[in-house]
Each structure stands twice: as structure tokens, then as C-alpha cells.
Symmetry: D2
């Protein structure tokens, strides 16, 4: 299956590893209500799926599953895992030695002047980039020296910066996923996690086009255009 690099740094990735169910299954789940079943996705089925999405009939969207393998900065993973309706298995830096992979923004962003939680604009600053890298380099060096002196991984990782990359499996269904996407594609979300959400939306839409096109329309979201 396809693999995306949402942060375009050659490290980040989103990979769809397994899908179960389809728009047809969603229509059939809804039709249980009146005891009918359909074997091929008709125009009528698509209209039903669209109607269900538009009117917040969420339960039929739970009988399907998408499983993704994600590689993202730890601060993105922290935002992600606040969503409790999904399943996660993450690499453990108690168990495995941390890789020397960190996220460095291509451009810096300014603190937003009004919204305390947001950023705006973008600019370059070579000097800051150098310092950012030096700070990471010292953290890595310290981490390795701690390991060499026999200190356990679970304590040594304490010096590693939160821009370090982590990996996890993310498993969800369309109901839970659209909730995640709504929050993480919104303007209020940090730019980095929005890139992941956008990649996921594009990948999922291939498998559930009627559902996600209706959802995107309802929420005025463009499926293919970058949210940037």
C-alpha cells in the first residue's frame, strides 16, 4: 500500500497497512434497522451513506477498520494519543534504543500575536537552526554516554528532546477517525499534525469514497489539497 512522508523530511511516514469494510458495509449496517441487505454499492446506497454522514448517524460507521503505521515527532504523538477511541501500539524507548532521528522544521513560524496557542507566518533563521541542532547533538551524545556507563534506557532517554521521532500502529474505524480528522485538520491544530491528518484523509478516502466525500463536504474540507 501507499506510503506518505507528510513532513517531507525523508523520515516521517504514514502507511496504511490494513483496511476492512467499505461504503457498502456502512449502508448494510444502517439497513439492519429495517432488515435489508445489499450486495453491490448502488447509487441509492451512496445516497444513504451520504445521508447518514450528514445527519450524524454515526453507528454504521463503526463496522470497519483502518490500521496505519505512523512515524512522527513525539510532540505530534502526544497530541495524537489524547484521542482515546483508537488503538495504539508504540515503540518503547525503555525496550529499544532510541534512533538518532529528529524533526527539524524546514521553516520557523512566529508566535501568533492574538491566539496564544497558535503560530503564524514562516521565516528562515540559520543561526537558530544551528543552535537547535547543537542542542539535539548534545542530547544524543549524553544519551549515548549514559547508556555506555550502564544506565538503563528508561532513565537515559530523559535527556532526549521531544522532537525525536517515534513510531506506532494506529487502528481506528470511520466514526472515530472522522472525529480525529475534524479536530486535527482544523486551523487550531498544529501545522505538523495537520499534515498527518491530511495524509490519512487522502488514504482513507480511496477505500471509503462515498463516506469521506460526504464528510468532507459537510465540514468544508478539501480532501486532496494540502491544508498548508
Amino acid at each position: 500500500m501507499k506510503k506518505y512522508d507528510p513532513l517531507e523530511d525523508g523520515i516521517s511516514s504514514v502507511e496504511l497497512i490494513r483496511v476492512s469494510g467499505s461504503d457498502l458495509d456502512i449502508a448494510n449496517a444502517a439497513r439492519v434497522s429495517y432488515g435489508k441487505i445489499s450486495y453491490e454499492l448502488s447509487e441509492k446506497d451512496k445516497k444513504l451513506v451520504s445521508f447518514l454522514m450528514m445527519h450524524d448517524h454515526t453507528s454504521p460507521f463503526e463496522h470497519n477498520q483502518l490500521s496505519f503505521r505512523i512515524k512522527c515527532p513525539m510532540f505530534v504523538a502526544r497530541q495524537w494519543m489524547r484521542h482515546r477511541m483508537h488503538s495504539y501500539n508504540e515503540i518503547s524507548y525503555r525496550y529499544a534504543q532510541a534512533p538518532i532521528e529528529f524533526y527539524t522544521p524546514k521553516k520557523w513560524r512566529y508566535q501568533h500575536q492574538i491566539n496564544h496557542q497558535a503560530s503564524e507566518g514562516e521565516f528562515e533563521n540559520i543561526e537558530v537552526k544551528r543552535k537547535y541542532q547543537e542542542s539535539i547533538d548534545l542530547a544524543v551524545k549524553t544519551y549515548q554516554e549514559m547508556l555506555e556507563s550502564g544506565i538503563c534506557r528508561e532513565l537515559a532517554r530523559g535527556v532526549l528532546p521531544v522532537c525525536i521521532y517515534t513510531q506506532f500502529i494506529f487502528t481506528t474505524n470511520l466514526h472515530a477517525l472522522t472525529h480525529f480528522l475534524k479536530l486535527r485538520l482544523s486551523e487550531g491544530a498544529q501545522w505538523e499534525i495537520r499534515q498527518f491528518a491530511q495524509a490519512i484523509l487522502e488514504m482513507a478516502t480511496e477505500y471509503f469514497p462515498a463516506s469521506l466525500q460526504a464528510w468532507a463536504e459537510k465540514n468544508s474540507i478539501n480532501i486532496t489539497k494540502s491544508v498548508d
Copy 2:
């Protein structure tokens, strides 16, 4: 896929309509912790899956999905849907006219002498069976007369007995499913729902043999022998 008739009355049914994932995916979900992946289920993988199950490492068992179509008496459905970690879509007797299908036990059971919540023994009683049927018949007749007089389905169904059959889609993952099975295969569960749980266990084991054999062993449950 296979279809079971757990109550052996020609009405009840359990049908597995979709499965996603396998024992191998469970092993791989666990291995994310140390960043490895496997492409074929080896003996080592099976041991890992068994180890995870034995030691309550539950998260790797969530990256898979089983979807069943269930037909059961309403009192069974009521016990079932108290389990909140699954997805359900049920036929609505506000929307659809109720079918004339009711559950009649093949044998009666006595009230348990010690356990207030349980039953024991079994016996026949033709006289009681006749009265049980008469009561159902009057309920059906009344229901139909109410509908004929223009009363809405959502009120008319008020007279229908809780032994009426209902249908729903039940979607779950192995972590949530084993929790359901543990409670609903236990001696404390009502005989009727235990038959459904047993059918589900047998069906699911075909697709996740390493996981469910380890689980059955851990809980001293026999996968193929009836719980009767």
C-alpha cells in the same frame, strides 16, 4: 462464511460476516515496541502471541476486527449490549414491523436454590408451554390490531414479550471480544447467551488460533465442547 444456530430452534443465528487481521498482525503490533516486523507466522510468533495473552498485554489484540450478524432473543440482546466496548447496529421496531419470531426454551429450568440469579436442572411441562405460547399469541394479536387501528409501531411494540427475536451487527476486536467471552461463557451467565458466546468463540478461533487457544487455556475453557 459459516452460520450457527446456537439455540437450535431454526431461528437463532450467528454469522461471521467479516474478519480483518490475524495472529501474525498481533505479533507485529507487539513488535512495534522494538521496531521489528514479520511476514509469516513462525513458531516464535505463536509463542509471542501466547505470551502476550497469558500476561495480559492486551493492546496488540486491538488491531484486528471481527464483524458478526446476530439473531437472538431480546433478553439476550439486553445482556449483550451492556458490553460497551463493541459496535452495534440493531433492527428498530420503531422503523420495521416486528417479525412473529419468539424464543421458546426446549426445556424449562428450575430456579436455583442457592444462587438467586441462576437456574438449574431441566424439565418438561406441556401445560406451561401451552400457556407461554398463548400469552405470546395474544401479544402478537394485540400488536397487529394496534397497528391496524393506526397506532405507531413504537407504541404498539410495547405489548411484545422480551422473548421476541431481534437482529444486530456486532463488531469487535480480540481484546474486547475475550472480555465479553470471559463473562458470557462463565457459569454465572444465562444458558442462552452462553450458547451464543460459544458459537462466537468457535468461529473466531478459526481466524486467530494462536491467540484464542492461549486464551482458552489461560481461562480453562474448552473451545469446541459445548458449555451446556
Copy 3:
């Protein structure tokens, strides 16, 4: 605490048995984001709570709890317990003998001509009422005869109609509760459960006025006027 009789038949009831937290706690939960705490609910706090509600910042609304004792017809309980984000403990008719308490609508409603799932209008029909009662009476008589013949409660209750009353404890938080209220106060919900939802909204608003007034405004819902 207050007790309501939402169906006005002298049997139904909603009783608020315990509340924890307040609008102030919601403001403080939100302020954890920037490390501040408030000891008295100011106008600024109320505005914050209102802002959070209006913009779907749901997490601060989870750090509180409301616990209700509910007595309602079983078909209402079935709709209610499809909501999985709450805690329930219900009377068991495997354990306890069922009471002779059933719901009889004061007025009948017609099947809706367009919406398959709805009802409309209201009318009286003495003849139907008599038949409805006769069907219930036979069910009760049969139930009692079955118990007398030694049959266990869990099987005998099979003849009881779904308009029978049941009781349960319903525990929730404001985030989960507003989701429940939105669906069960909507026009699409059955009239009976809407009466319960309305009673709960009124009771909860006494304890969380800023939160629920903002919520009601957002959803164009009148807190005190009956939804009838």
C-alpha cells in the same frame, strides 16, 4: 434531591442522587492548559465555560459527575443503554421478581406518514387500551404461573412485555451527558425518552448553569419548556 415523574403516570421517575463538580471546576480544568486556578466563579469564568462549550472543547467537561436513579419502560432503557459512554447498574429480572408495573400511554400516536421511524398526532381509543391491558394481564398471569410451577425467573420473564418498568443507576459527566441529550431531545427521538432527557437537562442545569445554558443556546434547546 428532587424527583421527577417524566411520563406523569405515578410510576416513572428520575432522581438526581449525587453531583460532583461545578462550572468553576470546568473553568479550572481548562485553565490547567496555562497553569492557572480560580477559587470563585467569576463572570470571566462563565464566559470561559461558555466559550469552551460553543467551540467543542469537550475535555474540561469530563471532570465532574452526575448520578441519577431512573425508572422507565424497558423499551426506553434499551434506547438509553445504546449510549456507551456512561455507567449503568440495572435491576436484574434474573435475580429479582419483576414488579407488576407497566407503561400505558395516556394518548396513542399515529404512525408517521413520511418518517418510517416516527409517530405523529395523538388520539384516544378505549377499545385498544382495553386490549393492550388484557394482553399485559395475561402476560403477568402467565409469568406468575410459570414461577409457581418452579420455572426460573430468567426464563419466565420471557413472556413479559417490553412496556414493563425497569430501574437503573445512570452515571455520567457533562461531556457524555450533552451528547446523550442532543440525540434524545431531538425530534427524531421517541416522545417517551425525550421526557426523561428533558427532566435530566432541567435537573443538571441547576448544578451547571453556565455550561448547560451555553449548550442549550448552541443547540437551540429550551431548558425549562417541555419538549412535548
Copy 4:
């Protein structure tokens, strides 16, 4: 209410900010099953609560709530928030400037020789401590320089190490809490989070003594003795 400093560094803290419900409410929730209510906690009630806990009747333990204010290292918070059955509100370093508070272990621990995920023993190493501190110091300096150059907080925090302190509100009920405690008091859990779990167990036991003493006995856990 009491405040603990589980890591004994003058920075970490666990504070119980609100409790609702009691052992009596748990007994009453269970008694809904047979329609009874009790107004004072009797010896019989305590036995009932103990019985429920011993036999995994979990639902009565959900009708109560405990709310804690936690201050812990970020790597502890990451382990904590993998538990999805609780409510959280955490300080945001997108919104607020990060404090200069970091966790430094009093003693180092060795990597465990057999268990890849664990540590063992303890030792001092002044040289390592100095390097650990230097790495943190450079991260803080870089963070501050980035902010001074106008870079937004959400990107600047990328250099901060995962031993940084964070704060959050943690709200739960006894059912969900005992699940958390079982995993986070176990030998397999990292020493740091075990100190928090132990503090929470002690605090909660004051309010739910019958429940948590039964739970501790069942799981062979000592409520007051440190897990160290």
C-alpha cells in the same frame, strides 16, 4: 486535601482535588439489581463490596469519581495517558511557556540484564549527573533563545527533554482506577510511575477503604508500604 511528592524532589506532586461517592454508594449500585437501598455502611455492605471486588463485578465501581492534580515528568505522563478510560486536561506548551523544571533521578539504575524493558540496582555517578544537567541546561538556553528570536512555543519546545515536568488533571472512577493501578504498580512498570500509582492508591483508600482493601488483598498489594 493532602498533597504527596512521590519522587521526593520537591517538584513532583499528586493532589486529590475532589471525591464523589463512597463504599456505601458502591453497595447501593450493586443492590439496584434487586431493588434495595442502604443508608449507612454496615458490615454486610462491606462484605458485599469485598465480594464484588473479588469476583470482578466491576460495574458498581463506576458510580463514583476521583479527581487528581498531577505534576510528573513527561515520560511518566506518556505512560499514564495510554490509559484511555480516564479524563485528562494537561498544560499545553503551545499555549504556556514551559517551566524550568526537570526530573533528575536521585540514583541511576542499571539496564536489566534479562528483561529488555526493565532496570535493576542503583548507583551514583557524579560525572553522568553533570553531563545530564549540562544537556538539560543547553536545551533550556536554546529554548529561550528560540522564543526570543520570535519562534512560536509549539516549535521551540521541540528541543526540551522528555524529563521535563508537565501538569494535568486526572479524573477517574474506581473501576478504571484499579485497572490503572494494577498495571502501574506491577513490577513491570517503571519505578517513577509506580511512585505516583502508590500515592494515588494511598489517597484513594482513605475514601473507599472497603473497596481498595479488598482489591489490594486480591492483588497481593500493600497499600501503605512503598513499592520501592
